[in-house]
């Protein structure tokens, strides 16, 4: 049977098309017919179905995500906002940073190693496509219960995939999270973040201007990767059984991606790229429609020219293939030779597959026949938008009334400290981070176990002007808090990431986020989503940090049971003089320990309630953003003045865990005294708090600075010795803390 061409479609208007199998609603299909004035060809249907999918079109989330723009605080730092491959912020001295976090949840459940690896690969290409050199990655992970069987399958594979791909690219891994909760069994979350640097005047965008310019596909060849949907189409259109079983798993080739990085940077330096786009989900469909839609509006592509790994692929499959390690560039004809020479130097295959036109149409041919002829904007930008119904979950009120007030308080606080410290969520993550290269490129100022990762930037791009500046990044999120109150939970995620950046001495500047939720077709999930977005947008406005980009991952559920709503927030900050970074924890003996911020009895969603009682109920800690901002201001100013010898934020597990981790950082003990009720002082999870250590002679200046910013400052004690001593309450040798902290994950995962 011959290809389903435009002329054939015109002649067979009533031929049934498998739109439903491709996940399209009847109304959506009708709209395509209306746009085209005829039935779509198989290839056109392939394009519209992927471009209008939830993943590419954000059709369920768009109406809510708008708030990130409408409520955005004024920020002079924002150079490129939401809507591009990644946001770009001005970090001073002519430098800009671009960063983004993205999910690869479902593929990582199906094939943990490859799923996680290609998650890293995808986000790195997003950063490359902004014209930047990727300089580091982070990974925020959620798994089922640590002792559940499937976690033992998924976690080692995910970590190995991230490790292998990131290490091969030569990108240091500077932070992340590992969280266990039975709600993620069957739906692990793998959120990967990449940050890149570029000169402010070198930003690249995904545009295809200038009729006559060439469209170049470069990198790996195209194979039948991730085209489950397309195979339906191909087999339906071609009645060919062999296409029915195409694999859904994408396999990554980090070596090719490393070559692509170096190749792209040389292409940028040679100024032979007019527009560029990475190929991610929806591959060639997405790259061509988006490039064309943002340029002069027209493009002609000969699909026969796409280099194939498997020669049996048909146009629909080529259009939907998610083969990794591919990029598309728009190049002036005069620069083509130079472009190709650079690709050849890096052993990167490159092929001209079409050219930019001024017709306003995206036209594709196959064996000389026209198989696609569409206005590209209708696929790229004018997808359906849904205002989905939402309502508060039926059990929400009951959940919130089931407070932790009635839970038995522990008699033995020492035992409670050790129980929490060795619990999977609070235990050392070294089993994971030890598999990641944190040193490569020699720009890593802080990495695990620091609260935020930090990089110096002056040497990231050869030949650029030096600067003393550095950037810091942290990602945080707490599904239990968000389950109790998605509005507050999203704010608390932002607050924690903001605090983690500030404790290192960097000033928080901008935000990225990955919103992991259940099905948007479930009104209760949609309510959680809407609340979380509203909370995050409001908090960003109060804290003065704009959202620059992010990603939404829906359908994280098993049957009708969704995961806890899990907004993961990444914050990027800038430190003017990276030599003044504040290291984590107790860095020496004889230092004064101070607690900044106010503590009240807040145990809803706490690690204590979770670990000791398996309880989730009540309300999460209060998100006091004004207090958070004041704390941040104190930390940044104190670091600037060189007052801080060490610091650590308070979060999961409260003061007790922060003290223990601070001792573990360098093996230095401390003796502290509490002023309030010991259990609350030690285990409450009140937000907006941090521990700092200062030389004794600096304490008064710190206290005065805190007073000025209305941040409570309590002298707790001094560092030194080989034990953590909480006077009249508990005493634990640092070595015992260490054994408890480091033993858990190796015992679970080998």
């Amino acid at each position: 049977m011959s290809t389903d061409s435009v002329s054939r479609a015109e002649g067979t208007p009533d031929e049934p098309m498998p739109y439903a199998e491709l996940g399209m609603k009847r109304e959506e299909y009708d709209r395509v017919r209306e746009i085209l004035g005829r039935r779509p060809t198989g290839s056109e249907l392939a394009i519209y179905s992927v471009m209008w999918s939830e993943h590419c079109s954000y059709k369920s989330s768009k109406v809510h995500l708008k708030q990130f723009a409408t409520k955005a605080p004024k920020s002079e730092a924002l150079l490129v906002g939401m809507g591009e491959n990644a946001g770009v912020v001005d970090i001073g001295d002519g430098w800009a940073a671009t960063f983004k976090i993205e999910s690869h949840n479902h593929p990582s459940y199906v094939e943990p190693h490859q799923g996680a690896a290609t998650g890293v690969g995808g986000i790195v290409r997003d950063i490359m496509s902004m014209g930047a050199r990727p300089i580091a990655v982070m990974d925020a992970l959620r798994f089922g219960g640590a002792d559940q069987d499937d976690t033992r399958r998924v976690l080692p594979g995910v970590v190995e995939g991230i490790s292998h791909y990131g290490n091969c690219l030569g990108l240091p891994n500077i932070g992340g999270e590992v969280v266990f909760d039975p709600c993620y069994i069957g739906n692990p979350l793998v959120n990967a973040l990449c940050v890149g640097l570029l000169r402010k005047d070198q930003i690249k965008l995904a545009v295809a201007p200038g009729p006559g310019n060439k469209v170049v596909l470069f990198g790996a060849s195209t194979g039948p990767d991730g085209i489950g949907g397309a195979s339906v189409l191909a087999s339906a259109t071609f009645e060919d059984e062999s296409h029915a079983k195409r694999p859904a798993v994408q396999v990554g080739d980090p070596f090719m991606e490393k070559l692509l990085i170096e190749c792209c940077l040389e292409l940028y330096a040679a100024d032979v790229v007019v527009g560029i786009q990475d190929l991610g989900a929806a591959g060639v469909s997405c790259a061509t429609t988006e490039l064309a839609a943002k340029g002069t509006g027209g493009m002609h592509v000969d699909l026969n020219l796409v280099p194939l790994r498997d020669p049996s692929l048909v146009p629909e499959e080529i259009l939907m293939s998610e083969s990794q390690e591919r990029m598309m560039a728009v190049v002036r004809p005069a620069d083509i030779d130079a472009f190709m020479a650079i690709c050849e130097r890096w052993d990167v295959p490159a092929t001209v597959i079409g050219e930019v036109t001024d017709t306003g149409r995206l036209v594709m041919t196959w064996n000389g026949e026209t198989i696609v002829d569409i206005p590209p904007g209708t696929a790229a930008d004018e997808g359906p938008v849904y205002e989905r119904p939402l309502h508060e979950p039926a059990g929400q009120v009951a959940l919130n009334s089931d407070t932790p007030d009635g839970l038995a308080r522990p008699a033995d606080l020492r035992a409670t400290l050790l129980q929490l410290l060795g619990s999977p969520n609070l235990a050392s993550k070294e089993w994971v981070t030890g598999q990641y290269d944190r040193y490569v490129r020699s720009n890593t100022v802080l990495a695990q176990p620091a609260d935020a990762g930090m990089l110096r930037i002056s040497e990231a791009i050869a030949g650029a002007e030096p600067t003393t500046r550095g950037i810091a990044l942290s990602t945080d999120g707490n599904g239990r808090y968000a389950k109790l109150d998605p509005y507050a939970g999203a704010q608390l995620a932002l607050a924690e990431a903001y605090r983690n950046v500030a404790v290192t001495g960097a000033k928080p500047l901008a935000v990225t986020n990955c919103l992991n939720f259940g099905s948007p077709e479930d009104p209760e999930v949609m309510w959680q989503f809407a609340e979380a977005v509203r909370g995050l947008a409001d908090a960003c406005r109060t804290l003065g940090v704009p959202v620059t980009g992010g990603n939404v991952s829906f359908y994280n559920q098993t049957g009708s049971t969704p995961i806890h709503p899990t907004p993961v927030v990444g914050v990027l900050g800038v430190i003017d003089d990276v030599a003044k970074r504040v290291p984590t924890g107790f860095t020496g003996e004889g230092l004064r320990v101070a607690l900044l911020g106010e503590t009240s009895a807040e145990f809803g969603g706490s690690e204590w309630a979770h670990v000791v009682h398996g309880h989730l109920g009540g309300l999460p800690p209060q998100a006091n953003l004004v207090a958070e901002q004041a704390l941040g201001a104190v930390l940044v100013e104190a670091a600037r003045r060189g007052l801080l010898e060490g610091s650590h934020d308070l979060s999961d597990g409260g003061l007790a865990i922060a003290l223990a981790e601070s001792c573990l950082a360098r093996g230095v003990g401390a003796t502290v005294a509490l002023s309030g009720e010991p259990f609350t002082d030690l285990f409450s999870e009140s937000a907006s708090r941090a521990l700092v250590v200062v030389r004794p002679e600096s304490f008064d200046e710190l206290a005065a600075l805190c007073f000025e910013h209305e941040v409570p400052c309590y002298g707790l004690g001094v560092t030194g010795g080989t034990s953590l001593v909480v006077e009249d309450v508990l005493e634990v040798p640092v070595e015992e803390l260490r054994a408890t902290h480091t033993g858990t994950l190796p015992a679970l995962f080998g």
Binding site: V110, E111, G223, D225, P247, V249, V251, M256, Q324
Partner: protein, 81 residues
């Protein structure tokens, strides 16, 4: 005391970056006449007893659940000797 060989190869439609890298290197090393290389794994499983049907069924199960990742790999068994 029998030995069963389990050969595990990536499914044909799955990208094999290792095999590709080797194939690309060959001409540079002066080898011509090779059109493709695929790299897989080979396991030698030593049995305590003979390779009877029950034992082979066991090894097949082992291959399916542990030695091969059947999401992306195929395997074959054969008794050696």
């Amino acid at each position: 005391m029998a030995r069963v060989i389990v050969d595990v190869m990536l499914k044909p439609e799955i990208l094999d970056p290792q095999g590709q890298a080797i194939a690309r290197a060959l001409p540079r090393l002066g080898f011509s006449g090779v059109s493709a290389v695929r790299q897989g794994k080979r396991f030698e499983v030593e049995l305590d007893g003979p390779a009877d049907e029950a034992a082979l069924a066991d090894v097949r199960k082992m291959a399916e659940t542990l030695l091969a990742n059947t999401v992306i790999e195929d395997f074959t068994l054969r008794v050696e000797g």
